[in-house]
């Protein structure tokens, strides 16, 4: 699904290398988790993959289903099936959540040369999916993320994901700022979207989220590289021993 080869990235504005040769191969239908200490480059990886400005790729490549994505605009990557659930979803006052969702769904369809979703059909679909995430009509009407609690914002991210039906989902610290109940709800939403084709890359600091979203593969990232890859037991190891041992191991 997503293949990342020898990815080197620096900040555009300053001469600071953040990713120093990331290699990842994510198969269809699998859930990969990336864990790692602060400043290891996890969020940068998610931003570079989804097309945020301010970064310069100095070497390497990333392909989504065999197509290079690093030269594509953010919206083209989205239309190609990539989705990033933000760590800090942005508030957009004055733009209704529903309007935003419909604009996004139809913009992607247009970019793919598909027919737009009618207002009626859209409403039916969004109501059903919102219900599963315990998002009420009021929350759909409110401006995007304005006045939402931390949990509501993250649920709203998952709703967008459910509506856009991406092939490749990147979740950037989706557990941050969530209490246990909110995390369970978000994890349920994610698990409902799991199937044998859709791939997930779950970025997190803590093993906790992975109790609810069970990963197939766990990677440890440090200092701009993947330093270790293993099964779910690797996450437990981190939980018990911290990153220090792993860092020493590979140093």
């Amino acid at each position: 699904m997503l293949n990342i080869k020898n990815l080197h990235v620096k900040l555009e504005e300053e001469d600071k290398q953040i990713l120093k040769g990331v290699n990842l191969s994510l198969e269809p239908g699998k859930v990969h988790a990336i864990m790692g200490p602060n400043g290891s480059g996890k969020s940068t990886l998610s931003y570079v993959l989804s097309g945020k400005g301010g970064y310069e790729v100095t070497d390497g490549a990333a392909q989504l289903e065999g197509v290079d994505i690093l030269d594509m605009e953010a919206e083209e990557r989205a239309a190609a099936g990539l989705f990033l659930a933000f760590q800090y979803p942005v508030e957009i006052p004055g733009v209704g959540n529903m309007t935003f969702l419909r604009t996004a769904v139809n913009a992607q369809r247009k970019l793919r040369g598909e027919e737009e979703m009618s207002a009626g059909e859209f409403l039916k679909v969004v109501r059903a999916k919102a219900k599963d995430l315990k998002i009420d009509a009021e929350m759909l009407k409110r401006p995007v993320n304005v006045g939402f609690s931390g949990g509501e914002k993250k649920r709203n991210e998952i709703l967008q994901m459910a509506m856009l039906e991406p092939k490749m989902c990147i979740l950037d610290e989706t557990d941050s700022g969530l209490d246990v109940d909110a995390m369970k709800l978000v994890a349920q939403g994610v698990n409902a979207l799991r199937d044998d084709k859709r791939t997930f890359l779950v970025i997190t600091h803590y093993q906790r989220l992975l109790d609810h979203i069970k990963p197939d593969v766990v990677h440890i990232m440090a200092n701009g590289r993947i330093i270790k890859t293993g099964g779910p037991e690797l996450a437990l190891e981190v939980e018990n021993n911290g990153y220090a041992d792993l860092l020493e191991e590979t140093a």
Binding site: G51, P93, G94, A107
Partner: protein, 421 residues
């Protein structure tokens, strides 16, 4: 149609002998007094502090400065039930004046030939009261010369909004003077759309008696017209006054709004959203005087500018001694979509009471990169994402409109305007 003004040294400029001759007693008196005010004050000059950010030249020169193309106006509010009043090339189509319960509609042309009329207590009076501390002589010129306008007397709750729609061939000047009297506890919504002329000088005098409620929604578009408007309002105790203006076109617009809060517990709001593109200069000049206890005033102005467009905001809150418990709010913000556009803001507070809460803020900024990325990462192309963020930016001003349906109409109109450019 006479020009707005001519040379100030010539009496002919602001005193149209024939017009004064044909006026009834009250109008004659008002026009003579206004003509004297204009003569004494002189016309605005480029060096006037009050005109520092906007050149008055186009408003004071004798000839219509251009043939304006005005056809760009998009339909708005057509699905709402309103009481229509139409102007063609600056002339009110009074033969077709509608009737509505709890109000009377007349033309200035017919009211001004009478010797007695209710407008006597308002026409030119509120304008005259608005001449301190700065002279607004073009408004006095308007009082002296205007032949056309709507005289609206509201005596109860008027169910459907009064909707003035103006059309023009785009070759004439228009001098229009509306007078609105809202009686105690009465309520009305006035909508203004379309263009009165290539160059327009419009005055609205609005008197809202105690407990009255006045709502004003105005849409100013058109391609290259020049427009000067003045609102003079007097707001009584527990009364409400709300005026919202959307400007999405025109070369030069100056909207002045002068409000006096004369009764306790009154509440006023003046808001504007403007989209400026290219050869576009838009000036909001607001002066709100608190002269009573426990009143609230809000000024909310949002300007989105690109391709060298210029936005100006001059806004002042004056709190007189004794106007305790005043709650004044003023915000003026611009979203600059490129480096060529500019926003000039002069927010002012002048407070002579010691128990008041007044806040003001003014900002200029570019599109928020993180918000833009958020939208694009959801598949929204850049241009469309910028439009959405533009709508987001002006939303606070649109929220000042009390009626949610009309606010939605304005939003839809903006969306349509944005997608068409």
């Amino acid at each position: 149609m006479a020009a707005f003004s001519q040379n100030t040294s010539s009496n002919r400029a602001v005193r149209d002998a024939q017009l004064i001759e044909s006026s009834g007693a009250w109008a004659k008196e008002a026009r003579m007094a206004a003509s004297e005010r204009a003569q004494a004050a002189g016309l605005p000059q480029r060096r006037d502090e009050y005109w520092k950010y906007t050149r008055p030249d186009a408003f004071v020169q004798a000839d219509v400065p251009l043939k304006a193309s005005l056809h760009k106006s998009l339909e708005i509010f057509y699905q709402r039930n309103t009481v229509p009043v139409t102007f063609e090339d600056g002339k009110m189509q009074s033969a077709a004046l509608p009737c509505a319960a709890h109000c009377t509609l007349e033309s200035l042309a017919s009211a001004s030939v009478l010797d007695l009329h209710w407008a006597r207590d308002i026409y030119g009076r509120l304008e005259a009261a608005g001449q301190t501390p700065v002279k607004r002589s073009l408004a006095s010129v308007n009082t002296a010369m205007a032949r056309e306008g709507l005289m609206l007397h509201v005596t109860g709750a008027v169910a459907a909004p009064i909707h003035i729609h103006a059309t023009s061939s785009g070759q004439t000047d228009a001098v229009i003077h509306h007078v609105i009297k809202v009686a105690a506890d009465a309520e009305v919504t006035l909508i203004e759309t379309g263009q009165y002329g290539a160059r327009t000088n419009i005055v609205l005098e609005i008197d809202v008696a105690d407990g009255g409620r006045f709502h004003h929604i105005r849409v100013q578009d058109g391609d290259d017209r020049h427009m000067l408007t003045h609102i003079f309002g007097r707001v009584g105790a527990e009364a409400t006054f709300k005026s919202f203006t959307l400007s999405a076109g025109g070369q030069l617009t100056r909207n002045e709004c002068v409000l006096q809060l004369v009764g306790d517990d009154a509440s006023v709001s003046v808001a504007g959203a403007c989209l400026g593109d290219g050869h576009f200069h838009h000036d909001d000049t607001v002066f709100i005087t608190h002269d009573a206890v426990n009143c609230e005033s809000r000024q909310v102005f949002k300007k989105v500018l690109r391709n060298g467009a210029v936005g100006v905001f001059q806004g002042k809150i004056l709190v007189k001694a004794g106007a305790q418990k005043t709650d004044g709010y003023q915000i003026s913000q611009s979203l600059l979509l490129d480096d060529d556009s500019q926003f000039l803001a002069k927010p002012e507070l002048e407070i002579y009471a010691d128990d008041v809460a007044c806040s003001h803020g003014s900002t200029s900024g570019a599109i928020d990169a993180q918000a833009l990325f958020y939208l694009r990462s959801r598949g929204v192309p850049e241009a469309q994402a910028v439009d959405l963020l533009t709508l987001s930016f002006v939303a606070e001003a649109i929220e000042e409109i009390e009626d949610a349906e009309f606010a939605q109409d304005i939003l839809d109109h903006l969306t349509e305007t944005l997608s068409g450019r």
